[in-house]
């Protein structure tokens, strides 16, 4: 059916990456390049009384020492512009930059930072989002600490609870988590290059968001700023605002010194400064009839936004939409809040407000099942969304296949859920006990009613028949370049080797918004398809005229053009050559705008996403009852992706997402004590290693979506959002104890409470 799409073709960037040729931000060198470094705050909440930079400025080899006073516009932010490029008068969190230097070497830069004298006055900080609600605002110009309040309303929860035979009230909470991209943030800013005011190269997730920030801080036009993405060593939502801030600083230093300036964070600098996954405190009340049907849910979620708004206005919006889980619930009332605190700020991380609520709603579903004497499978099968169901937000699901039953059945079969669940339900003895657990989700694809959702791509057929392609969305390691080239190659009927993908560059690529929300294949892929179709149409028309045929008589396949009945007409290369010399337009811009959606913020309802993906993950664990150690033995992960453009790369997303979910579930926590971050490197921030791997069974389910390119939807984020919940349910079965707090590390599993600091304040 397909020649290139739906096939496990090799990554187009693999050769560069296995030979060490791929250049990342820190690998770049420019003539005359200086090294930029930032002095960071000593306290998480303080007034800056005085900064003396004279001694630092006088050091040989130091070319610039700058403070907030030297920044043309000091506040940036994608949604609310409250993030300081350098702290001016106030320190809001421990990662705030106070001053920055550019010097001939890293050693000289370090000496210059030591020579800067800062006089602080500590101010009592706010470190708990619940307390932040009533505390005076940490940002003096705001009325209070509330960043956002989203609501969702369906039916009448009072009636729903009155009709319930069983009501449960439960509280769950989750932790700060580090993205843990292996490459620390790195940029090089080059002044006055190729017509731009400044060009910034580096590990940038979202070139347009970073461009907007740099232009704003320099008070320059958008078209004066060139952001070029290099190979990026992982991002997972993480190299957005923090890299924008770094790009602004490097750009200011570069323009000040008129020299290229490289800035590379150490791991410690990265962890202290970069935004984290939001910790959530969640209250769930659920009502059900005695036969196990959900009648009402009332949910309150409080997110710690930390010092700056960043993505907090939007992250709890996805949570408010999805907080019930993928169930039919007639009466729902959900409120999500985000508050400022003096903790490290929080923002986008793979999942974006879903892993937290899934941990809660899927733990809750198992607790309810136990209360009602049902199995985890039974309670879910009674309540899941199906074709034609109406979601909590009031959206009728009738445009695509609602495949929850299918993903559940496939995962259960692969891991032998029912048999193992029965076996582990019997009394267990001995030092180790086993359990099996499950979690399911639905996830709105792409941005949803959060923002404009459009993307572009440019495709150009050359006169030798080779093709180049670029897009406004950017490779983050996930394989976007390869997927986009597959779509172009499929549509044009040419081999992958003829298609070249160019780096994202803000002065060439069409502004396509951000590479986020698992939207690239779906929205960006449609833009590529559109560009390829335009180019193909132009070539078709030209060739059809030559042969006295009509365009619809032509088939593009295997680098040739054929008639419908299989007669070879002309090679793609020759057709391209002839068309070029005849003046046919062979370079085309493709554009795609997502189907219309809407959200009524006041009423708390609407059609927030144009399509959804469905998934089920199941985990089998062994718990050492003497130490609390959890070993995840097996995991099955069934994901409906619409269509797998590249099944092997898709499996890579599943393996990686499952392991990130495992880390979230049992290992990872950024420990924060009154705003100070305690684990600043990978020696005590523990991420999963090869020794933590379970056997992972990836299951790809394909129900093509009418709005996806070749039916494809999303995969990046869904793979990560379920693991912690499934593992938590498995641990509860093994130990007989329900722990409602992540991560389920040794002490929580053994003692039921944490020994380490966390959550900002203890």
């Amino acid at each position: 059916m397909f020649s290139t799409v739906n096939k496990p073709v090799e990554r187009i960037d693999a050769y560069e990456k296995v030979t060490g040729r791929a250049k990342y931000g820190a690998d770049l060198q420019f003539a005359g390049m200086l090294y930029g470094k930032v002095l960071r705050a000593r306290y998480p909440s303080a007034k800056i009384k005085k900064i003396n930079v004279e001694r630092a400025r006088s050091l040989p080899g130091v070319w610039a020492v700058m403070t907030a006073e030297d920044v043309p516009c000091n506040e940036i932010g994608v949604i609310i512009q409250d993030q300081q490029i350098l702290a001016k008068e106030r320190v809001y969190y421990i990662g705030d930059g106070i001053a920055m230097v550019a010097a001939e070497s890293l050693e000289t830069a370090a000496r210059a930072l030591e020579a800067i004298e800062v006089e602080y006055e500590e101010i009592p900080g706010v470190f708990c989002p619940i307390e932040a609600k009533n505390e005076s605002p940490i940002h003096p110009d705001r009325r209070d600490n509330e960043i956002i309040h989203h609501k969702l309303r369906k039916g009448d929860v009072n009636k729903g609870f009155a009709d319930s035979d069983v009501i449960l009230n439960r509280e769950y909470d989750t932790q700060f988590v580090e993205h843990g991209y292996l490459e620390p943030e790195a940029v090089v800013a080059v002044p006055h290059e190729n017509g731009s005011l400044v060009t910034v190269y580096g590990s940038v997730q979202n070139i347009f968001a970073t461009r907007d920030a740099v232009a704003r801080c320099l008070k320059a036009g958008l078209s004066e700023i060139r952001i070029v993405q290099n190979h990026i060593g992982g991002s997972f939502g993480g190299k957005d605002e923090v890299v924008s801030s770094m790009a602004c600083r490097a750009a200011i230093l570069a323009l000040k010194t008129n020299r290229p300036v490289k800035m590379v964070n150490t791991r410690e600098e990265s962890i202290v400064e970069s935004y984290k996954r939001h910790p959530y405190k969640m209250k769930y009340k659920v009502g059900a009839t005695k036969d196990g049907r959900l009648s009402a849910m009332e949910i309150e979620v409080v997110a710690d936004g930390g010092a700056y708004a960043c993505q907090t206005p939007f992250v709890p919006w996805r949570s408010v939409v999805q907080a019930t889980g993928p169930y039919e619930v007639p009466h729902v009332k959900t409120d999500t809040y985000g508050y400022y605190t003096n903790n490290v700020y929080t923002g986008a991380m793979r999942g974006y407000g879903s892993p937290q609520v899934i941990f809660a709603n899927e733990s809750l579903m198992d607790e309810l099942a136990q209360e009602l004497g049902l199995s985890p499978l039974e309670i879910r099968m009674k309540n899941i969304l199906r074709n034609g169901s109406v979601t909590a937000s009031g959206q009728k699901l009738d445009r695509h296949e609602v495949s929850l039953a299918e993903v559940i059945e496939k995962a259960a079969k692969a891991i032998d859920f029912e048999e193992k669940y029965k076996r582990y339900s019997k009394p267990q003895s001995g030092d180790t006990r086993r359990g099996i657990g499950m979690a399911i989700s639905y996830r709105g694809c792409s941005l949803g009613a959060e923002a404009v959702d459009a993307a572009g791509a440019v495709l150009s057929i050359q006169k030798d028949g080779s093709v180049y392609l670029y897009s406004g969305l950017a490779e983050n390691g996930q394989g976007l370049k390869t997927v986009f080239c597959q779509i172009a190659a499929e549509e044009l009927g040419v081999g992958m080797k003829h298609v070249t993908f160019l780096e994202a560059n803000t002065l060439i690529s069409p502004d396509s918004g951000s590479t986020v929300a698992s939207r690239s294949t779906l929205v960006g892929g449609n833009a590529v398809l559109n560009a390829a179709r335009r180019a193909k149409d132009a070539l078709s028309k030209f060739v059809a005229d030559q042969f006295g045929l009509s365009s619809s008589d032509l088939v593009f396949e295997d680098d040739y053009l054929f008639t419908l009945d299989g007669k070879k007409l002309i090679s793609f290369a020759e057709a391209a050559n002839k068309a070029f010399w005849a003046g046919v337009q062979l370079s085309h811009v493709g554009w795609y705008v997502a189907p219309s959606i809407h959200w009524d913020e006041e009423a708390g309802k609407g059609n927030p996403y144009f399509t959804y993906v469905y998934a089920c993950q199941m985990a089998e664990v062994e718990v050492d009852m003497g130490t609390g150690e959890v070993t995840v033995l097996n995991m099955a992960a069934a994901h409906d992706v619409g269509r797998a453009i590249n099944p092997e790369m898709l499996k890579g997303q599943i393996y990686g997402g499952v392991m990130m979910g495992l880390g979230y579930g049992i290992l990872e926590e950024v420990e924060i004590d009154e705003g100070y971050i305690l684990n600043l490197n990978f020696d005590n921030y523990l991420m999963p290693t090869s020794k933590d791997m379970p056997t992972i069974i990836p299951i790809i389910v394909e129900n093509p979506d009418p709005d996806g390119p070749y039916g494809a939807k999303s995969i990046g984020e869904p793979t990560l959002e379920l693991g912690a919940a499934a593992i938590a349910n498995a641990i509860a079965q093994a130990t007989g104890k329900r722990i409602r707090s992540l991560p389920l590390n040794l002490e929580r599993v053994l003692l039921g409470y944490p020994l380490k600091k966390g959550r900002g304040k203890k």
Partner: protein, 160 residues
């Protein structure tokens, strides 16, 4: 600060260097020799992105001072490809989709090569142990392990 003369062979090429006592091997490779394939992810020997092979052993080049390695042979990711031919491990990483962002890939390849040089027929568990010190945040390790298994088979077949 006094300089120390160090003679090292990197990817077969001999170098005589004058280094300071605090210069790390990773900086010598990246900054002096422009071999930027070796990556720095943590600087404390936890992530393994800077792994190189030093006299046959996989080591963290961020934890080694160049002055310590006088007379040694170093192999980096740039030295795996010989005469334009990829090493079977590199081929296998490509074929098995063992790469996503690629930042851990050079270190991962070097740990795998050090393993296969000593143990041409490793079990899955031995592979997991060999790359235990190489963090990968993207792939979940599965396809990396499959690639190493496949390269081991390839190398075994070639030697028979």
């Amino acid at each position: 600060m006094s300089k120390i003369e160090v003679n090292i062979t990197v990817n077969g090429a001999k170098h005589r260097l004058e280094v300071g006592p605090k210069e790390r091997l990773i900086d010598t490779l990246r900054e002096r020799l422009h071999l930027t394939g070796t990556k720095e992810g943590c600087g404390v020997g936890e992530c393994g992105a800077c792994t190189v092979i030093l006299d046959g052993e996989a080591v963290h080049s961020c934890l080694i001072l160049t002055a310590q390695v006088d007379g040694s042979e170093v192999l980096t990711v740039e030295g795996l490809e010989v005469d334009g031919r990829l090493h079977p491990l590199q081929e296998a990483f490509i074929q098995h989709h063992a790469i996503q962002c690629g930042f851990c890939t050079p270190g991962m390849l070097m740990s795998a090569k050090a393993l296969l040089d000593k143990n041409p027929n490793p079990t899955r568990e031995e592979i997991k142990t060999a790359i235990e010190g190489n963090l990968c945040r993207c792939t979940g390790y599965e396809q990396i392990i499959e690639a190493i298994e496949s390269a081991a088979n390839e190398l075994q077949a070639a030697s028979h």
